[in-house]
Symmetry: C2
Subunit: 259 residues, 2 copies
Amino acid sequence: MSRPTILVTNDDSLYSQGIKLLVEIAKEHGDVVVVAPNKPQSAMGHAITITKPLRLYEDPIFGEDVKAFACSGTPVDCVKLAVDKVLEKKPDLCLSGINHGSNASINVIYSGTMSAAMEAALEGINAIGFSSANYDPKGDMTTCAKYVREVLDLAMTHGFSMSRLLNVNIPNVPVDEVKGIKVCRQAVGKWSEEFDERIDPFKRKYYWLTGRFVNEDERKEETDLYALENGYVSVVPILLDFTAHQEVALLNEKWKTHA
Amino acid sequence: MSRPTILVTNDDSLYSQGIKLLVEIAKEHGDVVVVAPNKPQSAMGHAITITKPLRLYEDPIFGEDVKAFACSGTPVDCVKLAVDKVLEKKPDLCLSGINHGSNASINVIYSGTMSAAMEAALEGINAIGFSSANYDPKGDMTTCAKYVREVLDLAMTHGFSMSRLLNVNIPNVPVDEVKGIKVCRQAVGKWSEEFDERIDPFKRKYYWLTGRFVNEDERKEETDLYALENGYVSVVPILLDFTAHQEVALLNEKWKTHA
């Protein structure tokens, strides 16, 4: 049997510590091709580039046996270019990350790491986004190394989720304090904004986006945030259907519209 | 009873035809405040601006009775700034659009129009994203005018969806050919990329993202795309929970992980 082809990408750029580790782990499982942004693209969500053209340059940063490319676009652009222009056939798996910072709960909607994985799933490719709850881009990645390997082994040995897409977050604790892996649901939460208002040297106002995360979940125990806070690796299977299905019939009835 | 406060935003910028019409309609229902991008921000998805500060300038473009601001950020930034810095209290409703181009099916994930509405819903504000299946930014908006009014009347008279968020698309047909309003689900579909590869004057390659939409839905009749193609206004109630709930228990069992 031939080795699987694994596409690796992220949002922290080709030059981050997280993607370097992910490439090393992916190499244990298959032939690795990397297409990643040429600069940090955190919080780009599912943005795509339509008003300017994209650039793609090969960069042998991971040695001779890994084809790697830096792309001028967003994480989603990277996946689209990889599938249409870099790879000869659809890859068997797409891994995104390892992000420096948690993408649990509603962070999934802002995250470039997860958007890249989502785009791969939309293309019909099994995809996993990996994020570390450690926000330090130079931080120790021993816990990540062990549990990214374990989750990948589980997915490749026992089968993937039907929805083709997993959001995996690694708790920020020493490796011997991790309690295990938990498949769970996305916690209900939101960011509460607190813009930092300043005055520039020309007397004009400007604003820095800052905020604090609020966990609004009433049944916390079932969630990814609870898992992470209690020393578990959280795995959320993701579905890209935004429909509130329960409400379709209800709303047609209430509004007396066409069912 | 005091008039509701309605926040209006979009992704085509403060200077588009679609937002002008939406402001006019919103004024019939409440006090309108506008915070919209100062330049087109289509396809920005749920991107937020974290690596540079934001600017916000008042622009009396809609006359004396509508406070309007141009923002240097993304559609999601606009909603965040409006809630934290422009409005004294949380608005009663957020309307986004009217987008020049359909946001049915999976377009919801790329759309700045819908991301702005999503962000409002995350803040606990009832929100509607309106889009026209007519892609011409200078196109006739008679059909839009009638059906944006009708949907807004329905939502304000008979009650909103529990999920607080609606994706409304208006078909590109003359007003007397519209068959009605249909509440339906998001069609399964994707964009198939076809990058247009070119050579610049300096002999280097560059790529324009192009593609064609593929409707992959097997039960088409229930979907927003079917509604639109058959002359109905489509209304999809949206839920921002990405969890594939059916798979959480299944995957814990298959992987023998912690339930």
